[in-house]
C-alpha cells in the first residue's frame, strides 16, 4: 500500500499537473516500496503471527540491536528545509493554507489574487484528492498554477511541493500560495517549507474547533476567520473562538474577512505586502 496516496496498487501515485497538461497512464512518480520484496527468503510464511520465534534460525547469535534514534518525519523535514532555502534565496513568501473542507480557502485565494495580481507576482499550488477544478479556477485569473492530486492521500508532503515548485519556474520577489488538502488534522504534521502557515476557519463552524483540532492551530502563524458576513445568521461567538485559539497558540494573529463580500480583506492584503518587503 502506498503512503502518499493510500492506494493499493503501485501505479497510482499523486499526480502533479498544470492546467491543460495530460495525465499519462504510467506516472513518472513510481512507488518504491515494492523494491525490497525480492530480498525475502522464499520460505517466508505469512501466516506466522508477529513473532520471530516461529523461525528456527531466529535464535542464533546474529541478533544485533541498532540504535537508530531517528525522527520518523525526518525525510519530510529535510525536503521541507530544501524548499525553504530555495524560497528564501529567491525572496519568495510562501504560504501554506490549511482548513477543513468548505471554509473558503479557494475563495479567499481567488479574491486575493484578483485584487492584488497587478501589484504582486503570485504562484499557486493546489492540493486536492481529485480533479483539476481548483487549478482551473486559478488559471482563469491568469496566475501560474500547478495542481497536486493526492489520490486517497489526506495531506500534502514536502516532496510533492518540491516537484510542483520545479514546474512553476518562479520569479524572485513573489508570493507562493500553497492550498493544502481540506483537512484539519493530517496536514498539521507535514512541514512543506512554507514561510508562514495560515489556518482558515469560517463562522459556520463551531467556535471550539481550535481546541478540538489543536495541532493545526498550534502550528499556524495566522488565523483567518472567513464568512463574517454570515454572523447575523449563525450561532457563533467569535470572541470565544479567538480565546480558544489563543489558548492553543498565544502567538496567533487574526484576520476577520468575508471573501465573497470583500469585508476585512484590506487588513489581510496589508499584512501580505508587509511580508514581501
Amino acid at each position: 500500500m502506498c503512503g502518499t496516496c493510500g492506494c493499493g496498487s503501485d501505479n497510482e501515485g499523486p499526480t502533479i499537473l498544470k492546467p491543460g497538461e495530460h495525465k499519462h497512464s504510467h506516472e513518472e512518480r513510481h512507488h518504491h516500496h515494492g523494491e525490497h520484496s525480492h530480498t525475502h527468503d522464499d520460505d517466508h510464511h505469512h501466516h506466522h503471527d508477529g513473532h520471530s520465534h516461529a523461525h528456527a534460525h531466529s535464535h542464533d547469535h546474529k541478533h544485533k540491536v541498532l540504535e537508530i534514534e531517528q525522527d520518523i518525519l525526518n525525510n519530510n523535514a529535510l525536503l521541507a528545509a530544501r524548499n525553504r532555502g530555495y524560497f528564501e534565496a529567491k525572496h519568495i513568501f510562501a504560504l501554506n493554507l490549511v482548513s477543513s473542507p468548505g471554509s473558503g480557502k479557494t475563495s479567499i485565494l481567488e479574491r486575493t489574487l484578483a485584487d492584488l495580481k497587478n501589484e504582486i507576482m503570485f504562484y499557486v499550488i493546489e492540493g486536492d484528492q481529485q480533479t483539476m477544478n481548483d487549478a482551473n479556477r486559478i488559471d482563469a485569473l491568469q496566475i501560474p498554477v500547478v495542481q497536486i492530486n493526492t489520490g486517497k492521500g489526506c495531506h500534502l508532503e514536502s516532496d510533492m511541493v518540491y516537484e510542483a515548485v520545479k514546474k512553476l519556474e518562479m520569479k524572485d520577489n513573489s508570493v507562493l500560495m500553497i492550498e493544502n488538502v481540506g483537512n484539519l488534522v493530517c496536514p498539521s504534521m507535514f512541514d512543506l517549507g512554507e514561510s508562514k502557515r495560515v489556518v482558515i476557519i469560517s463562522t459556520t463552524e463551531g467556535e471550539d474547533k481550535p481546541i478540538k483540532y489543536p495541532d493545526m492551530f498550534h502550528t499556524a502563524d495566522i488565523c483567518i476567520i472567513n464568512k463574517i458576513d454570515l454572523l447575523p445568521y449563525v450561532n457563533i461567538d467569535v470572541q470565544k473562538l479567538k480565546e480558544y485559539a489563543l489558548k492553543v497558540n498565544p502567538n496567533l494573529e487574526f484576520f476577520e474577512v468575508s471573501a465573497t463580500k470583500g469585508d476585512g480583506m484590506e487588513a489581510w492584503y496589508k499584512w501580505l505586502k508587509e511580508n514581501l518587503v
Binding site: 500500500m1 534460525h57 541498532l66 537508530i68 531517528q70 520518523i72 493530517c186 492553543v248
Partner: protein
Amino acid sequence: MHELSIALGIVKIAEDETAKAKAKKVTKIELEIGVLAGIEIDSLNFVWSSAVQDTVLENAEKEIHVIDGVGKCIDCDTEFAMENIHDCCPNCGSNFKGILKGKELKVKTLEVI
C-alpha cells in the same frame, strides 16, 4: 489517516537501516511516540499490518514507548504535566509555554538478524 504515511516512514527507515547493517530482517522495533505528537496509536496499530507487509518489518515485534507531555511556562518557569496542547500553566494561568516532552515521533532501536 496520516498514520499510514507515518507507518510507511517507519518502514523506510527500517529498510534503509537494515540494508546498511547488511541484515536480513527486523525481529523487534522500538518506537517513541509522545502524547502530543498528533498520532493516534490505535490508528497506527490499525494500518501497521498492511504497511509492513512484504517488508523487513513484516514479522517484527513492535514496542511503543508512550512519552507523557511536559511543558514549561515561559512566564513563571513552572514545569507541568500536559495532556493537551491547550493546557495552560497551573501556577499562573499563562498560555505561553514551551513543550519539553510529548512531541516525540522516533524510531528508537531496531533488533535485526
